[in-house]
């Protein structure tokens, strides 16, 4: 099966995501991505991630939040919480990702686009994506 055929045929629906932890921190952003990054870095440090992995998580969340600015006209929400063995960051917005393989293919060597989601998959331990016509939720997990 070619990549095009893959992309054209929707995957079966995924189960809903489990609710965030009780101690979750929420932040609604529009263009203040620096604040989003500062919040993620602070929470990642508190959770005990090494500096390198904390910076990885900052990059991943910033890339996803940048897509909110690029592809929607409305605000996005960042939710951060800890659960056993990991810190989780979730970005929710009104955008729609139509391609189930978005971010899964390595961009070409001289590509000048398409690195955002790809980076997210490279640096995070687990990435969960739920997207339909009402919006997109991307959950990024980093083991401690």
């Amino acid at each position: 099966m070619t990549e095009q055929e893959h992309a054209a045929r929707p995957l079966p629906p995924l189960p809903p995501l489990s609710p965030p932890g009780d101690d979750a921190t929420c932040y609604t952003y529009r263009t203040d991505l620096a604040k989003v990054r500062a919040l993620v870095l602070q929470q990642a440090r508190v959770a005990g991630l090494t500096e390198g992995r904390a910076n990885d998580l900052v990059l991943a969340v910033s890339e996803v939040a940048a897509n909110t600015l690029r592809h929607t006209q409305s605000a996005g929400t960042l939710t951060i919480w800890r659960q056993p063995g990991e810190v989780v960051c979730e970005i929710q917005d009104e955008g729609t990702i139509a391609d189930p393989l978005a971010g899964r293919r390595r961009p070409g060597p001289d590509a000048t686009g398409g690195h955002g989601l790809w980076l997210v998959y490279q640096v995070c331990d687990v990435v969960e994506v739920r997207s339909d016509e009402t919006g997109t939720t991307i959950r990024m997990h980093m083991g401690i």
Partner: protein
């Protein structure tokens, strides 16, 4: 607040242009970065060095602006080089393989040594 501050130097006798970026480069200021780089690239310098040593963060939209500038420099027969990326930026350049596409030096002095 301006998160990205840029400065440009092209000293007399120096056969290169130096653009220094400081702060955080992301999608909210990549348009300004593109204008700045386009203006410098249009002057057709033989070497354009981007000093990243004061840059705390760079996202893929800023990288794409740099890669486009690199493409134009290439076409003009010039060289675009990066200098002094700190950890998070250096890692991002490695993950995207941008460090295979254009030269990355530890310091501006090394980038301009030849």
């Amino acid at each position: 607040m301006d998160l990205l501050t840029t400065s440009v130097a092209a000293a007399d006798g120096d056969p290169y242009t130096l653009v220094a970026l400081a702060g955080e480069a992301d999608v909210t200021n990549s348009g300004a970065l593109r204008e700045l780089l386009d203006a410098e690239v249009a002057k057709e310098p033989s070497t354009l060095v981007i000093d990243l040593s004061e840059l705390r963060f760079m996202d893929s939209s800023a990288l794409h602006v740099i890669l486009r500038a690199n493409r134009t420099m290439d076409r003009q027969g010039g060289v675009l080089a990066l200098a002094g990326p700190r950890d998070p930026v250096a890692k991002m350049l490695r993950l995207t393989a941008a460090d295979q596409l254009l030269p990355v030096y530890a310091t501006v002095a090394e980038a301009t040594a030849e």
